[in-house]
Symmetry: D2
Subunit: 344 residues, 4 copies
């Protein structure tokens, strides 16, 4: 089989494990098949603006443990206004002699990959969502690292809460799905876990906090950024920041304000934010990302385009992109209820 | 449904996550069903010698992040000479009014649980093997922590190897299955991974080390304790230790001796040993162990005895103990070969 | 020498190492001298409200690695309105037969200790400030842990910044002194470090950020919470939070807003907050805290009251409380300038 | 002042912080003074064999957090047989136009630097000893990282010991001085700390272990590799390894064998070995190493040769090389005795 020239890109928010995927693709491709690789800079932007460079084996050395992505990323898409769509992508690929693409990214990226594939671009997808909310795969890389970091933060905050008899609120990532909150909350022994999938009244959360305090412990509440309280009168925070954006829509700060008002317990909020997505991936994420990378190379090598790699049980399989992007994976109510037994 | 009195025991080698299982069982049982719990001390020994105490909710506070097991463990079994078998177990259970047992342990413990169940003891099993070598479950808790620790060790050793241009050998756990070696090796970017399932000649390993050195890098070799070299003349280490045991049968030291002799590259071995099984569990293991604990309580609560909890994909299910202990899960040759593409 | 009964209290904000001090005092006191100890709950509050319990050797088991303080803390002081002053303290001490106090706390706590001593209360101080801003001692425990946590956060944030070509701002503790910012900034290789001791114009900071971006790197700026920008027109953030407090007076968010406006580089802020003061202390802090604890016990044992323990070079010495609280230790301008060579 | 060309080398065993020193020297030298730098490969070997390359600012990017040394290291010295002595060093320096050297290394390296300086080579030393046993400086970088790693290992091993009621022995670095054992032992709450400076009978150590066990706890013993037991009949381990070296002269294994024999408590040994010297330096070590680097550059810039940089209290000072290498810093007996109060 003739040697191929393959383009790699990472798009959307960064995530621990991106570099391990890149390494997996390139190592297997160069060692087993003598394929050649090019790095597309800044996600789809590199194809739109023709920002593409050779990706040598030397560049991927020691990459599995490195956070971020050496290819850079952006939220630019080929179907954006004036970005030229599939035609531009094909043009750029032709200019560099690219036979195929490996696109590593989230829901948006994979949807673009599916659309490009429908227009004839030979592309294989690798799913990336730190929130773990993609139905087509059991787990995505980056999630384990984020949960680990959030759990370590909870462990730390708990000692401060106990010393000061304060209620501690931790806001974690999870805009549409509460997986990080659920797992970090269980691992850290939280007294309440608030997820987007399960709206709750602040009064209910305050009850759990109060029960905890009544047992002589400092309440610890984990809230996903996408949680929405149910009904009741909100204690809002108001204001706009320097960018004119509404200030402290931050649900963590809202939770703290409401819990303090309802329970009278001094309450503090910590927002983990970018800490959850940077830095060296956990061993679990490095292994999963490496397996995704080598499996994506296999798909490209077999010209099995329009597919995405995915984890099912302990196996890495292929799933059609069309199917893969149809459905997000929410925390099932019964799984949250199982965790809720431990609340309060 | 009437409230039950349930005995818990942990047997065999310790493993990060044991305490999280205990906490899960007790929290769900006390909160949802008003069951009562007793801690059986030192594994089966506590039933043989009647060393059993009340296990209060207070004792399980903050336990999910704590390494080891608060119940203690031992390798004593009820079927050991003079230990009284099922009759003694039933007798001790009756004396304390125990309606059922939750037995947390490895292959040996679960086999004992199965035998006791066949003799009429109401028992539910929770699988524990840091080596992850149980076929009946996709993953066991403790494994992720061990892989993480081994990976961090590899990250550290690599910088020393590179500075001194030495070959570094790391011996990790894995007597019959090489899962820890495989995952830590992939995560750490090892240049060779030696597992019990795949015998190799030292010459082959030395080739990989030499290829790595030829590219200007310091070779890093991960070897599972149960690896056996194939054919060839071994450079053995000989001797007996202060306990009269054969000295440094340690395969890591043997690997280092052989690699140094065959390649001429200065080689050092580090044996991680107990570092892999102690200390605070990773978030992944805390979540899995907690889920195993609450699922085991459910089985007991429904009087569904003779079962073991297990992970299948993302679900926790029940598996008959009889089936569960029949088969160990080896690293499939093709999975090792997939990793081997990255060697050298 | 007759055995004494000694009260211990921890006051002010919590700090990694408090428990190690407690353990050091009690272990040396019980083992070497047969002294008895009582835990004063919630700082000075315990003396004001008579909330005091026996502190057994069993309670201090395994305490050196535990964050927070098992004695609890508060900001209540004996000289607060209606709190009874030295008279009340002596009364409570007499009621429990306390011969002396060990007061572990910051500037405020030590000032109270000095005043009480001047009124005849036998007290020895142990300095605690996570900000490391006490002139009387070279280092205080908790500082090393805070710097380590902030450094790890910087390491993580850097990969995200590089992947997205964003400027990352990290706000760390340091209300009056910039030691945490200085050390974490040096350790993390920050491109600008903003401390309370050195007011700067946003334009200067933006210049450094721009220089960094011009070299193709993502700027990383560390700002101490007490930094005040110099002159110029501020881009403020406005608003009040749910407690009616001015919102996002957070200097980190202000820095991000200003830097983004001045450079046009997308900028994000992470505020570490309580993450820096919770959790297990670093080995350095455990050793220092243990040494402070045993040295404080020696002072009490020798009835050398009105003293505080302190580190000078590698020695733990005693300093009169009167002298100890007179002066804060600011970052010297030349030390900041030394670091500033590496900016941009 | 005219720009200089300066050679850097790292010699002896690797140590966390070496790269941070290199970065500090080069960043200050290029930014403030426009000096040029060359990397001498493999310690003194690079001067003996003329293995020297330009060291660009690009190469030192992100180096403060990286373990090992990018310059490589070796134990080759210019005064070794046939290595040409000072004459060869001067020759190589002249060939590359080197105006001065910065030599980063331990006792041996600094002694060579002193001898070369006496023969007219313009050299400045930076002390490096992970064991912290240099009298001329309060602390050396690398030590803090080693203590932190050993302390984390102790934390992990303790849970295993407690679960199995075993005695755990940890062997740490420290051939001539027991600083790592002392600090990690205090930080980890060890029940006995064995250092080279204080010979003890195994019976004494066994007594401590037995006392600990009698209180229901698992004894944890830290032993420095250079500890020598006093008198009594040793339980030796015998044998030779694959290199023909006496096997398990390892004092840790000897300690375990003797303690098990004397107490009857099952005992296990873990030898940390290279884990202590590899990997990313702690924040403390990064700051100290950076300060040593910039201070060494200052000395070179001022042509103040024959000096070594050193930490005194919180200041970085210069010490004549002649004086610096005269004396090792042992653990003072009274400091060990202070720690010993906590034993048993």
């Amino acid at each position: 089989m003739r040697s191929m020239r393959i383009g790699l890109l990472t798009a959307g928010g960064d995530c621990p494990g991106l570099n391990a995927v890149i390494r997996g693709v390139v190592l297997k491709g160069t060692r087993l098949h003598d394929h050649e690789f090019m790095g597309v800079r800044g996600g789809w932007r590199g194809l739109v603006e023709d920002d593409i460079e050779l990706l040598t084996r030397h560049q991927i050395r020691g990459l599995s443990k490195q956070g971020g992505t050496i290819l850079g990323t952006s939220r630019v898409g080929p179907y954006g206004e004036g970005n030229g769509g599939a035609a531009r992508v094909k043009e750029t690929m032709a200019r560099h002699g690219l036979d195929a693409l490996v696109a590593i990214g989230g829901d948006g990226t994979l949807t673009v990959a599916r659309m490009l594939h429908e227009e004839g671009v030979p592309v294989v997808g690798v799913p990336k969502t730190i929130d773990n909310d993609l139905a087509a795969t059991d787990v995505t890389f980056g999630f384990d690292t984020a949960v680990q970091i959030a759990t370590e933060a909870i462990d730390r905050l708990r000692t401060t809460g106990d010393s000061h008899q304060r209620c501690m609120v931790v806001e974690v990532m999870g805009r549409h799905a509460g997986w990080i909150a659920l797992h970090a909350g269980i691992a850290g022994g939280a007294h309440a876990i608030l997820v987007p999938e399960v709206p709750l009244r602040w009064e209910q959360v305050a009850d759990w906090a109060q029960q905890t305090a009544d047992r002589g412990r400092a309440p610890l509440v984990v809230v996903a950024e996408g949680f929405t309280p149910e009904g009741g009168e909100e204690v809002t925070t108001g204001g706009v920041d320097g960018f004119g954006r509404p200030l402290l829509g931050g649900i963590g700060v809202q939770a703290a304000a409401n819990l303090q008002e309802l329970t009278g317990i001094e309450t503090r909020c910590t927002t983990l934010g970018h800490l959850q997505r940077g830095g060296s991936p956990s061993a679990y994420d490095r292994v999963l990302a490496t397996r995704f990378g080598t499996a994506a190379l296999d798909a490209v090598h077999e010209h099995d385009y329009g597919q995405m790699v995915a984890l099912r049980g302990t196996e890495v399989v292929r799933v059609p992109l069309a199917e893969a992007t149809m459905q997000t994976k929410a925390v099932p109510r019964e799984q949250w209820e199982e965790a809720a037994i431990l609340f309060g």
